[in-house]
């Protein structure tokens, strides 16, 4: 006897919850062979606005958490992902037509990417900050801290259904940023399944918010949002990237231009792209 399967409803991930788009819009996702997979939510500018609000609310707690704690949470995400490895492989194979071995390699790389960043949380400040030997009786220390709310346009390239997404999110999370991610239009399902991983991995609600929908439609709203501190345009097309960079100029938002990092690159400088260096001076004396 065959049993009728229960298909998943793909919604958005905002503030640790899975709401539908306030616009009520969805996009049909099909497999390469043309069979229907799902109707994924098509986020609106208002969903983006809600995601920024959620990210801002979550940011101080995440930035204020100990680096050790952030490391453990990122590692926990890797653990959860490992546990769902087969599910992701199956989804990627279905939605992209990738070979199972390639899909497995990609998910494995995403897991390893998370582990790599989990290990950076409590080392980054040591490597990127420092004590400055100023010419005076002062204790002078430079420390990197998170930029704040970061908008990420996840890359849309073949073979990065999950890895491109994770490679965007992990560096920003490492130092304590809260993020609003525009998932790749090519791989919305994997992104939302990854949201389920996050939701079950001790990541505080709102630290990662994932939107599916049209990058061209939503990204400019994030780029012009005065409460977004930085935007990663790695996954944005040329025209929309220029539009976003121009909009970002209005609030001096930090911008990572497309091409600065490879779509699936894990790099120290990618972590450094979303920090601010704060230098604190203090007088030093026996008083």
């Amino acid at each position: 006897m065959s049993r009728l399967a229960i298909p998943k409803t793909y919604k958005l991930f905002i503030g640790g919850k899975f709401p539908r788009s306030e616009s009520g819009r969805t996009t049909e996702v099909s497999s390469p062979t043309g069979s229907f997979i799902a109707n994924v939510a098509k986020a609106s500018r208002k969903d983006a606005r809600d995601a920024v609000v959620a990210a801002r609310a979550a940011w101080s707690g995440w930035a204020g958490a100990s680096a050790y704690n952030r490391g453990q949470v990122l590692y926990r995400v890797a653990e959860m992902l490992e546990g769902r490895l087969d599910q992701f492989v199956a989804e990627i194979v279905e939605s992209t037509g990738a070979k199972p071995a390639d899909a497995r390699a990609e998910v494995s790389a995403a897991i390893d990417c998370l582990v790599w960043h989990a290990g950076w949380t409590d080392k980054f400040a040591q490597v990127h900050g420092g004590a400055n030997p100023v010419a005076g009786p002062f204790f002078n220390l430079s420390v990197p801290e998170s930029t704040g709310v970061v908008a990420l346009v996840a890359p849309s390239v073949a073979g990065s259904s999950l890895l491109g997404l994770v490679s965007s999110i992990a560096p920003a999370l490492t130092t304590g940023n809260a993020v609003v991610v525009l998932a790749s239009e090519l791989a919305p399902c994997a992104a939302m399944t990854f949201a389920e991983v996050l939701a079950t991995s001790d990541v505080p609600g709102g630290v990662v918010n994932i939107l599916t929908g049209s990058v061209d439609e939503v990204a400019p709203w994030l780029a012009s949002h005065a409460d977004v501190n930085a935007i990663d345009l790695t996954g944005a097309g040329r025209e929309i990237a220029v539009e976003c960079e121009r909009a970002a100029a209005e609030t001096l938002m930090r911008v990572v231009r497309p091409g600065t990092f490879g779509p699936t690159e894990s790099a120290f400088n990618r972590i450094a792209a979303f920090v601010e260096i704060k230098t604190v001076w203090h007088t030093k004396s026996l008083a």
Binding site: P137, F138, T283, K284, S285, L286, A287
Partner: protein, 395 residues
């Protein structure tokens, strides 16, 4: 053969009799005179004021030094300081000092450039504010007389040079200073004051009785100002009561029979208190206990006066004035040897406390070699060329 005057002999006789406990017979032997002559000299010593006998009522002393707690003063009571706890609370409640900020402030004051007429005026002002000092084990009446001459007429070649505010000597030299000053003696403004260090200067390590006796002796000898030292050991060990009570007691000991009293300068020995927080607390403590002046150092400990320390003390007297309308004096002492340095102190006085403090009643330099440097600078300004050390007198 040196002719020794009767006054001089009376002094020696009095020393032997009162200080060393010799009999009149023994004195006669030592000085090569008869015991009758020794008796007459001792009478002369009493009549001429070389010897002053004061009767100390022990009950009075008991009041001065309570078994525990502090002897509150009018000043301290007005600020709620009536016992040990309130004294401690008051001093610990003072705003802290940031050393780097204070030193930056002092360094910035030191960048003021005082030129031409301003410099000329400043040099004369410095002389008027000097407590010309000799505090050596080798001091002699002759040395003191020479110092006094210098105080009255700093530059024999230029009578326009003003006289100094006071001479500062050890208690046993007061009489010689007084004698040498004659009609030039005054309160620092009306004439040259006679300041005497007292209270087991410079360490202050003796009993209160001895410190008070030291003080009374100096006052009786004619000192117009007493420069006492605080008990740094007590201060550093947290025994603020003892420090406070000693100042109160010495303040009383400065009183004269006629109801007037010698002005009291309280020396902290800032080089031993070390921290600015300590110096600030000591300043307030001394003022509450009755100090007329607060003074940095004895000159026997390094570092002695520094500009930041003086700026800090000026801030305290400024704050006290704003609180009460009463002006307390400040005296940096030790280590100020050059006109350039002294001018920086004047700038600090004017800009931190206010110009009213540029007055011998409210500011003094405790110095010895400073005077000659000022005179050299004056000569340079008068003649237009640089002078040399042989053109000013050594003390």
């Amino acid at each position: 053969m040196i002719e020794i005057s009767d006054t001089e002999l009376a002094l020696r006789a009095a020393r032997l009799y009162y200080d060393d406990g010799k009999t009149q017979d023994e004195i006669g032997d030592i000085l090569g005179i008869t015991r009758w002559k020794a008796g007459r000299l001792l009478a002369l010593a009493r009549e001429s004021g070389i010897v002053a006998i004061s009767i100390v009522d022990s009950a009075d002393d008991a009041e001065i030094r309570p078994i525990s707690g502090i002897t509150a003063t009018d000043r301290s009571r007005a600020h709620g300081v009536t016992d040990s706890a309130s004294l401690r609370a008051f001093l610990c409640g003072l705003a802290a000092v940031d050393a780097i900020g204070l030193e930056e402030r002092a360094a910035r004051l030191a960048t003021r450039s005082i030129k031409n007429d301003s410099k000329r005026a400043a040099l004369d002002t410095i002389i008027r504010l000097i407590d010309l000092t000799t505090l050596e084990g080798a001091d002699t009446p002759g040395k003191v007389r020479s110092l006094v001459r210098k105080a009255i007429l700093p530059d024999p070649a230029d009578p326009t040079a003003p006289r100094v505010a006071a001479v500062c000597v050890y208690p046993d030299m007061v009489q010689h200073a007084v004698a040498a000053l004659g009609s030039h003696k005054g309160d620092g403004v009306t004439g040259i004051g006679v300041a005497s260090v007292a209270t087991a200067f410079p360490s202050g390590r003796s009993t209160l009785e001895i410190k008070l006796a030291d003080t009374r002796y100096a006052v009786a000898q004619g000192a117009t100002e007493i420069d006492m030292v605080i008990d740094r050991g007590a201060f550093l060990s947290g025994d603020l009561d003892t420090v406070f009570n000693e100042i109160v007691a010495v303040h009383r000991a400065c009183g004269r029979a006629d109801g007037t009293r010698a002005h009291l300068k309280v020396i902290f020995e800032t080089g031993e208190l070390r921290t600015y927080d300590n110096i600030k607390r000591a300043s307030w403590l001394a003022i509450l206990a009755g100090a007329d002046f607060i003074k940095t150092s004895t000159g026997k400990v390094q570092p002695a006066a520094t500009l930041p320390t003086t700026v800090l003390m000026l801030e305290v007297v400024r704050d006290w004035f704003n609180l009460t309308g009463e002006r307390i004096g400040v005296k940096p002492a030790g280590g100020i040897r050059q006109s350039k340095d002294a001018i920086r102190y004047l700038v600090a006085v004017a800009e931190v406390a206010g110009e009213e403090w540029i007055d011998p009643h409210l500011f003094r330099f405790g110095a010895s070699s400073l005077l000659n440097d000022v005179l050299l600078q004056r000569q340079k300004m008068t003649t237009g060329h640089y002078s040399g050390p042989d053109y000013v007198t050594v003390d």
